[in-house]
Subunit: 363 residues, 2 copies
């Protein structure tokens, strides 16, 4: 327990140090009678490149300098410094906050102004870029909540719960992945894989069918696009604990992309590392599964087709599997949701489909 | 423990009995060489009335007869019988399902057809009307998940967890309210009130600020409009355990209506009892709070204004408080979100606002 709390402390200390250093640079510049400035990697689209070695999007070499001497820069410069101060306060007080609360917190101070939440969100992303750390590391979380279930024991590091342990099978509706679970240490697990599911209904179905026991798996529900704290957790289970990760989504371009963002990251998080799990495998629902399992389908909409054509050109989708599945979707003009398996009875998915697919994926 | 499991068994037995009786009526009609038919209360808008005594919407006296001799009725009649069969299967197998899964389950059977999920949802509502029981009682749940936190010990009744207990402070991100928690028995609580919050961010804030201890409250997060299982839970805490309920929403017509639906039910659940908590109190954010606490605001949109004018005429909104607040919203032309309190610091809401409001509400 000691060691684990220490790890959490260490992580927090690293973020505090990064924030302090940022502040120190500014102070030194002022003491040297310079107009303070900071350097940031550029996040403009022409500086976002796919790194085939890292297997994720990263920022290129272009940097921008935000300079308080430049009248157009003073506003975002000041906002960034305030946001860094706010982040440090959060860490010091051991509190968490949300994107929206940050926006309103600024509105309380007469001299800091954000025109809209978009503007404050943007500055928070600047701070992530400056520190090379996701906002969750300085305690700013989004609204969405995903969930987890399975034989995994965690140990909390949040105030009031330090050192307390919980086994994630305790509550059969699943455990919400919020700030407390995101910052918890992983103590032990008997599972030998992670099964990630896009939808709450299927997550509940799998718990009910005891899929965690039958497949010896930890179940994670992403609630649509996986929040970043959830992607970090998936990565930790994969890298620190050596558990292979299988992704199970709706059979349509949107489901496919939920899987891809877990595997390869997204363009708008190109400034961050530690979120992608390149070895995670998308096991379905594939377009070829729709044919093979004769699933009930819906027709692809124009929007679906347009999205598939975009994905076909996307550097992350150049692998054989992805190209084949995109082509098949376009060929059959159909898509299928996870719930479509109910046509064969509620348990078909755990009795037949998942065993097939996991075996084929080498699980 | 014995007694509690028995209660859960009893509830299930009551639903099974209702389904059996429905089936029996049909069988007897057939044996009597009649075309089978069933009688349902009409749910058309002119048969939905506000009952000031019950303080909720109810269905009026008009009934409709769905008759298998009528060619236009055969389709919904057959669908209803199939849905009743499916519900009984769920109960027998002790499985839960979702609206969407029901739709796809039907698609697996060649002779039952739903054109879209709207159609199957409608038939499920018919079955609710026929049985006078919400679909959750025959194990059909929606997708949304809300959450709960506080010193409340529950005892599960779902398979594999029978008799197991959990205290709802175990996981500081909050416990998801899914099928397992919805069907759990309430064992004991040290709390003396329930504080219901519309938004996840504020729920997390309140946990972090130990609002459950400071106000001796159970915290419930509705995630927008409260799912019906959550409304049932709120009602149970209020009626079976005598805990007063305080509702805390965004300061706009939509937040106000989230509170109202918990208090008085909704028109589209007029065929059901047991969901409304007429004694629950909306404590904020009021329009008058916006003025009193000088909250940061947004302008009301045309849609907001239109909605406020609708609510002003709504029979549920005829009380003095509601009329005053609607008028004030319209007068100031402003609205405020829960997060707006961050302007005074993250803890203002628990240090100042909530104590004020709870005291005024007589808590």
């Amino acid at each position: 327990m000691r060691r684990r709390l220490k790890l959490a402390e260490k992580r927090r200390a690293a973020v505090e140090l990064a924030l302090k250093q940022l502040g120190k640079i500014i102070c030194e510049q002022i003491e040297n009678r310079e107009f303070p400035w900071i350097m940031l990697q550029s996040r403009s689209t022409d500086n976002i490149v796919y790194d085939p070695e890292l297997r994720q999007y990263v920022l290129g070499d272009r940097v921008i300098r935000r300079h308080s001497r430049n009248i157009r820069h003073i506003r975002p410069f000041t906002q960034l410094i305030w946001t860094a101060w706010f982040a440090r306060e959060l860490l010091k007080l051991r509190k968490t906050s949300t994107l929206r609360e940050v926006y309103y917190s600024a509105r309380g101070l007469r001299d800091i102004e954000f025109k809209s939440q978009d503007e404050s969100d943007e500055i928070i992303t600047d701070l992530e870029t400056a520190l090379n750390m996701p906002r969750e590391s300085f305690n700013i979380y989004p609204e969405e909540r995903s969930a987890i279930f399975g034989d995994l024991t965690i140990e909390y590091t949040v105030p009031g719960y330090e050192g307390k342990r919980l086994n994630l099978t305790e509550h059969p509706d699943g455990m919400m992945i919020g700030p407390a679970l995101s910052t918890a240490e992983i103590v032990e697990t008997s599972a030998d894989k992670v099964l990630v599911i896009e939808k709450g209904a299927m997550f509940t179905r799998l718990i009910e069918e005891k899929a965690h026991k039958r497949f010896n798996a930890i179940l994670i529900h992403t609630a649509g696009q996986a929040p970043r704290a959830t992607r970090t957790l998936i990565k930790r289970l994969n890298e620190e604990h050596g558990l292979p990760v299988y992704l199970f989504t709706d059979g349509d371009p949107w489901g496919m992309h939920i899987a891809m963002v877990i595997i390869s990251g997204s363009a708008n998080a190109a400034h961050l590392r530690g979120l992608a799990t390149p070895d995670a495998k998308w096991i379905g629902v594939w377009a070829t599964d729709i044919i093979r399992y004769k699933l009930p389908t819906e027709n692809l909409t124009d929007k679906d087709v347009k999205r598939l054509k975009e994905l076909k050109r996307d550097p992350r989708y150049q692998g054989e599997l992805w190209q084949r599945e995109i082509d098949t979707f376009l060929e059959i003009g159909q898509k299928a949701e996870l719930e479509a398996f109910s046509r064969y009875g509620l348990t078909y998915i755990v009795d037949r489909y998942l065993p097939d697919k996991l075996e084929e994926a080498g699980a």
